[in-house]
């Protein structure tokens, strides 16, 4: 079985974003970039499925500017066999990404598509669900466990209130939750080997997907700031403040 893993280039999760002074956008110049953490979990799961003999080939896909090839190479260092870079200016909206991925699903015919649950930049949490709808294959979102059983996959999902288990007919789309696994680090020899793995580049025109944005960002502003309050010396003082000053307990 082939597994397709879309990996997105995003701001490193440790970095706090800056906002441009003209409030048109966030400022990413000279910002440390990385693979979206949920995509790392997706790559790891694909590699584990290959190690178990369930998967035979892992294809990493990234959509966006040339620099996204870094994240594809990173996925290859972790165990992806080949890469596809769909090159375009900037990052398309989730709907467009899903349309591009749907074309690639048609071309590649994977048994599974392992997608991150959410990009930590747009915080959209949409692509997997949209891809599932467009490619007409079932979805298992927010997965904390994945078991392939013949032509089906059992997915444990983290939902409000607890856990839910679904059985999906393959091919299927799965989006990864934090608890699915703990991603490994790439080893130096694997990073070297990744440089020689095949990486195909294509354009959105070739795939026939219009990526003109539907959403116009009018402004981007900092959130209302919250300043540090006071330090209290004791539990008694804390309780008194909460009762008498903040009046949030009785």
């Amino acid at each position: 079985m082939k597994i397709l893993v879309p990996v997105k280039r995003v701001i490193d999760y440790n970095v706090k974003v800056r906002i441009k002074t003209d409030q048109t956008d966030v400022d990413l110049t000279n910002t440390k970039m990385a693979m979206n953490p949920f995509c790392e979990i997706a790559v790891e799961e694909a590699v584990r499925l290959k190690e178990k003999g369930v998967a035979t080939e892992i294809v990493a896909v990234s959509i966006g500017p040339k620099a996204c090839q870094e994240q594809i190479r990173n996925a290859m260092a972790l165990g992806a066999d080949r890469g596809i870079h769909v090159e375009c200016d900037g990052f398309p909206e989730s709907l467009q990404v899903a349309k591009i991925l749907a074309k690639l699903v048609e071309q590649e015919q994977p048994g599974l598509v392992l997608v991150g649950k959410q990009s930590i930049d747009s915080d959209n949490n949409q692509t997997a669900q949209m891809l599932s709808a467009l490619a007409k294959i079932p979805q298992g979102t927010f997965a904390s466990a994945v078991d392939v059983e013949g032509d089906k996959v059992k997915v444990t999902r983290e939902i409000d209130g607890g856990l839910q288990t679904l059985k999906l007919t393959l091919p299927a789309v799965i989006s990864t939750e934090l608890r699915l696994n703990e991603p490994r680090y790439a080893k130096l020899p694997d990073i070297m080997k990744a440089k020689r793995k095949p990486l195909a580049v294509m354009t959105t025109e070739e795939l026939g997907v219009d990526i003109a944005p539907r959403v116009n960002t009018l402004k981007v502003t900092p959130p209302p700031s919250r300043s540090a309050g006071v330090k209290v010396e004791s539990v008694a003082e804390l309780v008194a403040k909460l009762r008498d000053e903040a009046k949030v307990i009785s």
Binding site: N124, Q129, T141, I159
Partner: protein
């Protein structure tokens, strides 16, 4: 303009998110309909019809909707979409699960986690874990939104809107429900609680969460957790507060043994009053806390419990 709201419920009880979405819808303006999809959910439909501002409740009561599987719900919503300018669902795991499918099948974008309504086509939403707030305008014919309920007040009750049953059945055979493990608790739900006390890695193990639970019971509070506490298996996933967990905004949030990573702050920094109990004076949580207590939690929590009487 007419707006369709997808009701948040568990077949027995309508959730407060729905009342809050009605307020969001009233800020957009136009007629508001509520869709209740489930199995044995008649009571939910009548609860929805009581919300002021709702002019019609549509009920799709069928066993195929019992677990609100995304494939089936999306087709149901799509079958009704024709008459609406806006479709809203709460940004819960249910809304996040099916709504992007509705958007994709309508060929429109989805605006996720909307926290403010500027006009019928312009909305406010957080990005980058809430470290930036974007004002976005959508040119799509239908606006598909998931709404962060904590950003809106609940619409009052005192109505009795017409309830209309529909019998359309959409059943995708590529997916089957196998089972669930729901967390049972007598405490309020995190997203509805006025007071939340959360524990982090500093709690050391799951058993120590009993100290938070005893305090929660005195305060009528819900108990939450950081990702580190959930990953370590101290408590169930359902309790994770943060960018990728639950977003909460209670009157009082007490963070115990939580460092205050940006991903955690993203989920709780809109709380009215924040208390931090941490033994590390440099912990970033103190930068957002109204009241910071620098202390060992194992000494502070029993004291807090007895101080609350």
């Amino acid at each position: 303009m007419s707006i369709l709201i997808y009701a948040e419920h568990d077949n027995a009880q309508l959730k407060a998110e729905t009342h809050k979405l009605v307020t969001a819808a009233s800020e957009i303006g136009g007629e508001v309909h509520v869709l209740v999809a489930g199995a044995g959910c008649a009571a939910v439909a009548s609860q929805a019809s009581a919300i002021s501002g709702v002019s019609k409740v549509i009920v799709a009561d069928n066993s195929v909707y019992a677990h609100q599987l995304a494939e089936n719900i999306a087709e149901l919503v799509l079958s009704l979409a024709g008459g609406y300018t806006h479709i809203l669902a709460a940004a819960t795991t249910t809304g996040k699960n099916f709504m992007p499918r509705v958007a994709a099948l309508l060929d429109v974008v989805q605006l996720s986690d909307v926290i403010g309504i500027e006009s019928a086509d312009t909305f406010i939403r957080p990005i980058y874990a809430g470290n930036a707030i974007a004002t976005v305008q959508s040119s799509d014919k239908v606006k598909v939104l998931t709404v962060r309920a904590t950003s809106f007040d609940a619409a009052p009750e005192g109505n009795s809107a017409a309830v209309e049953a529909i019998d359309s059945v959409f059943e995708n055979t590529q997916v089957t429900f196998e089972g669930d493990e729901m967390v049972k608790s007598d405490r309020p739900e995190l997203t509805a609680a006025n007071i939340i006390i959360s524990g982090g890695r500093g709690m050391q193990d799951g058993e120590h969460f009993a100290m938070l639970e005893r305090i929660a019971d005195k305060l009528g509070a819900a108990v939450g957790a950081s990702r580190a506490a959930v990953d370590a298996g101290f408590v169930p996933n359902d309790m994770q507060v943060g960018q990728t967990g639950k977003i909460v905004a209670p009157e009082l949030y007490i963070a115990v043994g939580i460092s205050g990573a940006i991903q955690h702050l993203a989920g709780m920094k809109d709380s009215k009053v924040i208390v931090a109990i941490n033994k590390d004076p440099e912990a970033p949580i103190f930068q957002v806390a109204d009241y910071g207590l620098e202390a060992d939690l194992f000494a502070a929590l029993p004291e807090l419990e007895s101080a609350l009487g």
